[in-house]
Amino acid sequence: MNFWNITLSLLEGLEKTCMIFALTLVLALPLGLIISFGSMSKFKPLSYLVKTFVWIIRGVPLMLQVIILFYVPGFILGYPILSRFSSVVAAFVINYACYFSEIYRGGIESISKGQYEAGQVLGMTKTQVFFKIILMQVVKRILAPMANEVITLVKDTALARVIMIVEIIQAAQNFAGYGLMWPLFYTSVFYLAFVGILTLLFSYFEKKLDYYKS
């Protein structure tokens, strides 16, 4: 168990971490937009339903949601319907989509009514107004809070180990059984690098969108 072997095992864990991270992001970003439309719906029963759902998902600890998704279907049906990995991803996607949806909602509602009206009197359809005029302004406004959420997501992936997924923290903890504590602290190097790259990426996007003020 030399340094390189341990680094290699941690990298294997990091691979799981990255997979949970990437899948959650790819699926939760569009799902969050759909949920935000639901909570902004003029059809009251739908908006109340969606808001209640968001309240529950944001209210219950994510760790519990991971456990529930993996174990509860098994208890009820007698056999698990989701693999460990897919229940983690499902729980993360639902949870993060709800947080994203509130950020989207805040962004969308901050755009002035005049932008919609200008598009409307120019004969654009509602879809065109949203995708050609509103969305890009929303993206610019929500970039900073989104960066926060995405960075939190990197570290939340560690929750996956409650159902025995060997992500990077669990990979390091396995060495604690051999009396090695330092691999656990060593993981923070990987997290810092990961978050560092994301920070650079987000500031690049911010610069990209800096060419106009709204």
């Binding site: 002035s112 005049g114 932008q115 009206e117 200008a118 598009g119 409307q120 009197v121 120019l122 004969g123 654009m124 359809t125 509602k126 065109q128 050609k132 005029i133 890009m136 302004q137 610019k140 060419y211 106009y212 003020k213 709204s214």
Partner: protein, 260 residues
Amino acid sequence: MSILEVKNIVKNFGKIQVLKGIDFSMEKGEVVAIIGSSGSGKTTLLRCINFLEEADKGQIFVNGQCIYDGESTEKRTPAQIREAQLNFGLVFQSFNLFPQYTALENVTLAPKLLAKERADYKENKKEILDEIEENAKALLARVGLEDRMGSYPCQLSGGQQQRVSIARALALNPKVLFFDEPTSALDPELTGEILRVIRDLANKDVTMVIVTHEIEFARNVADRIIFMADGVVLEDGTPEEVLDHPKNEKTQHFLSSLNH
């Protein structure tokens, strides 16, 4: 036949009746100025005609064809509303330019989207888009912005932004162009450039309805002036009739209040 005819438009906001039956009509090439104190319903009337609000009652005709009928029980589809909307252009008090697009892109965005619905779009895509681009450049030149086409709204002064928004409205060739207090959000020294552009359009026979507080400008540019108060039309006549010889006491009061 009148290019625009508005009959008995009524609009309520909750229990408050903002428009109490507005009638007016105008001919092609005519310039009508609507004046009146704040809260008289001028802006609401413009918003009803442009379908940003739905009137509760009344009818709107364009070239004799009914484009809105408050009596009709049929719910109009979004496509029908869009089609009706395209008869008109509207210039807002607060410009409402799209901040992420350049002046030129602001003008070409809607025509380009609309062109996609043309049957021959796929075959003649390049010619169609080139034509839209050329037309937009000509319009921006017409409002004196030939050297600011690549600027973003945040790089333009208020007066320049408003001129872009006028070009944007003209790009769709509206039958009637509406202005909702086009200079109210501008510093006094910038209003002149907007008024010059509007006067130039009037000289080129663009049919326009201008809601304004600039009484002297209305006198100079408008063929007719409508005075509104409390949701009704109190005067409708030539600038001389309305401004110099008002019949109604409220008009006299409004005009004298402006001179103080």
